[in-house]
């Protein structure tokens, strides 16, 4: 991970594409979200979805997988270039997650993350809080999901707290 100071608002990271198979959709949903339209083709056809579709939790979990793999790729490139790596902390949460269209078996979703905002953390000195704007589009270019998430990123050096005091409380 780049240090907090080196992250620029507006930077876009393409995360790659994931194809949802019927088998994967049913396996995830059987474990975590066994509503009929996520686990049973015939029941899905009778539902308003018309066809088997992935649990929304599955579609965002795949965003997380591709996001982590992208971070790890970037870290490897930085290490190869001899650059020091910043630590990345846990996420305090997210908001405004919208599942805009169903993701059906066979759909290929291309995910993207943009740095939307950044500020020093008030509760954790030496760390910054970065807001990410995340999205996924299907193979027809239609947005299937959008949300905003937050993550702690280590600072190169602790900043004065005046700016942090004016900032909103950490989530």
């Amino acid at each position: 991970m780049r240090y907090f100071e080196d992250l620029t608002v507006g930077t876009v990271w393409p995360l790659g594409t994931h194809t949802f198979t019927a088998e994967d959709i049913k396996r995830f949903a059987t474990a975590f979200d066994p509503q009929p339209f996520h686990v049973d083709e015939a029941a899905a056809e009778r539902s308003h979805f018309g066809r088997l579709c992935a649990s929304g939790w599955h579609t965002v979990s795949i965003w997380m997988r591709l996001n982590v793999l992208n971070m790890q790729r970037m870290a490897q490139e930085m290490q190869a270039a001899g650059e020091p790596l910043a630590r990345k902390g846990p996420s305090p949460g997210f908001e405004d997650l919208k599942w805009l269209k169903p993701v059906h078996a066979g759909d290929a979703v291309t995910y993207e993350t943009e740095i939307a905002a950044r500020r020093p953390s008030r509760s954790r000195p030496g760390w910054g809080l970065v807001t990410l704007r995340n999205s996924g589009r299907n193979q027809r270019g239609e947005l299937v999901l959008t949300f905003q998430s937050h993550v702690f990123v280590e600072m190169r050096a602790a900043e004065p707290t005046a700016e942090a005091d004016e900032a909103l409380a950490d989530q």
Binding site: I62, M64, F94
Partner: protein, 150 residues
């Protein structure tokens, strides 16, 4: 088994859910597939991180909450799915052995303005660990069929 429809949900109702014990193999398996960060898969890496020890992926905790809600009442609700999540807060790490449980509180129930066959029920879902500490709070609407179209 009676099926719950939109008309059955009223602001202030509380639906308890759980428990679910988070096992170490389950935490590591979920992380390996969906959130392969070292602090979700390795004790030593967890100890060095802000989590202060191996902790479950937050996405795993959220998925387990969904499962508990399904088992508690969603399986007998005329659910049409959820349009999204208004907010989700991960408040504390979830450790191997933690027994999760919680409750869904109805915070709003309103009929759809455009479609007479359904309504939106908004929940505040609280997940606690075995010590009663909040680990996850999620606010989200679910679209539920009406028994009689309004």
């Amino acid at each position: 088994m009676s099926v719950l429809h939109f008309e059955d949900f009223e602001t202030g109702q509380v639906y308890p859910f759980g428990p679910h014990a988070m096992s170490r193999p389950e935490i590591i398996a979920f992380a390996a597939e969906f959130d392969p960060q070292p602090f979700h898969m390795d004790e030593a890496a967890g100890a060095e991180s802000l989590l202060g020890g191996l902790g479950a992926s937050g996405w795993h905790t959220a998925a387990v909450m969904m499962r508990m809600i399904h088992s508690a009442f969603l399986h007998r609700t005329a659910s049409m799915g959820g349009p999204g999540i208004d907010s989700l807060k991960w408040l504390r790490p979830v450790r191997p052995g933690d027994v999760l449980s919680g409750r869904s509180i109805v915070i709003e129930a309103r009929p759809s303005a455009s479609r007479p066959d359904r309504g939106f029920v908004r929940f505040r879902n609280e997940v606690v660990n075995g010590r009663g500490e909040l680990v996850l709070v999620v606010e989200n609407p679910i679209i539920i069929e009406r028994r009689t179209a309004g």
